[in-house]
Homo-oligomer: 291 residues x 2
């Protein structure tokens, strides 16, 4: 980092300072003087770059373990990260994160999730982080069909009981293989005429879980879209770094295609426009990997 910063030309620094400021926290107390304001900008930009580089240099298992721990510490509004990590990783990747969690935090991830989460999402989240899903192609169509009906009944009955607390809904989402779930959702659409996620707009955690499990690239491109839209929101800013760093060596190609399809602009163009400096260069380098 020092060598990168050291190479900056005076003009670079000026253009950097004039760059798009709406992506950063604008705390007026920090901006009383012109100079202080630029120092604050720089500090924030450096912090984002530093965070991205630190996250990138970690082993993926350690990274996932730390992301989940951080979400637990931050509390309810960050639990989506736990759903994301537990549901979009392969069985072996999630297991690696659980191993790393042991050695980093002297607890198991399911132990901490079960102990710290006290809202309606507890059962779902404990199941998601504990799962070691079968990843073969074998799917029993009959069972999938009957489970589509089970989900439909639970979701349509939501007035009486929140489907996220329904034992059968949790069982299906936390134990079935991803190919099996896809077949369930196909049957669900046949029963209902629309996709299951359209039925779950009010149930954000369930909706997110289903997207992460079955259409992770759609999910990730939505997270990126939201991160650019809510550029000033701390959580959205972290999401940008998190998604790009964690997916760079995985399914970034598909995410870029999905992003282009959804927003009509390429992800790299959007990054060019929305962020600055070395942080921008770093993100662009990451999303170009493997091309």
């Amino acid at each position: 980092m020092i060598s990168i910063l050291g190479k900056w030309h005076q003009d670079d620094r000026k253009s950097y300072r004039k760059g798009c400021p709406q992506f950063f926290i604008q705390d007026d107390r920090l901006f009383e003087k012109w100079d202080d304001r630029h120092v604050a900008f720089l500090k924030h930009e450096f912090l984002r770059l530093k965070n991205a580089v630190v996250l990138w240099t970690m082993h993926p298992w350690e990274r996932d373990a730390r992301l989940m721990k951080e979400a637990l510490v931050k509390g309810p509004q960050a639990y989506g990260v736990i759903i994301e990590v537990a549901s979009t990783r392969s069985s072996e990747q999630l297991l690696g994160a659980r191993r790393a969690y042991h050695s980093l935090f002297d607890h198991s991830i399911e132990e901490d999730v079960a102990y710290h989460i006290n809202d309606s999402r507890r059962k779902l989240l404990v199941g998601l982080v504990s799962s070691y899903r079968y990843e073969g192609p074998k799917v029993n169509e009959e069972i999938a069909k009957s489970e589509a009906k089970t989900l439909f009944a639970a979701i349509k009955n939501a007035d009486k009981k929140n489907p996220i607390e329904d034992e059968e809904v949790v069982r299906i989402l936390t134990t079935r293989s991803k190919p099996h779930l896809k077949v369930i959702f196909k049957h669900y659409k046949e029963i209902n005429g629309k996709n299951i996620d359209e039925d779950l707009d009010d149930e954000l955690s369930l909706d997110e879980t289903m997207q992460c499990l079955c259409t992770p690239q759609t999910y990730f491109s939505k997270v990126l879209g939201a991160a650019f839209q809510n550029g000033a929101d701390e959580h959205a800013k972290e999401a940008l770094t998190r998604v790009i760093v964690t997916r760079a060596d995985d399914d970034m190609k598909e995410i870029k295609e999905e992003y282009q399809k959804k927003y009509g602009v390429s992800l790299s163009k959007k990054i060019e426009d929305a962020v600055n400096g070395n942080y921008k260069d770093f993100l662009l380098t990451l999303i170009a990997r493997g091309e």
Copy 2:
């Protein structure tokens, strides 16, 4: 096996036939003629030896996966085997069994347990087979103390709700590390004046889970004791083979000490008296390993 059987002397066979018959199934339909009866004995004896040898030659992960699958197929009276395997193995051993289960049965173990078990034990069993417990020594005494109170309240409140379905009881037993659980049970005794398992005599599955987690050698020596006592019972006979084969390379030494202490006779003496033939020799060889 053929070479072993081929070496038998006439007298061996005679003494074998006169051996302790109460250990075998006595189905009178099989015993209409004297000769048929001996053939049936032999068939059963061979079957036991064969089962023991087959179980012994498997990789421990495959063995555990198959034992759990068999228990699921047999139904509710066999679910104790799932508790035993999930709770007495180390985190890595259980994980190995989960891996083997994937490739053998095209499902995850937690998927099958959650789908097939419909009684009050479902939540407990799903949690036990999904757990990847922390195995380090760190224990938070304060939390353990407070969780001892939680368990006490749930067990004392059993008139209103079966503790095996209590979410907190299940959470504690399925996610806490074994050292942490031992500290909980120590505090439980301080609160209550007696051990937690004495409070759970009517809750066999909970009692078994706690024993398997914290005093596995006591649990195994009890299973052996019951196997000798109910020699004619098919389940008890399988338990004898299962415990000796699965523990031979693990904690057999401690189990033998525990058995001697509990029943006042050595395990090898008991095997000498209660079983016969090559099956007996095989069990004696297994329990002598590592001496």
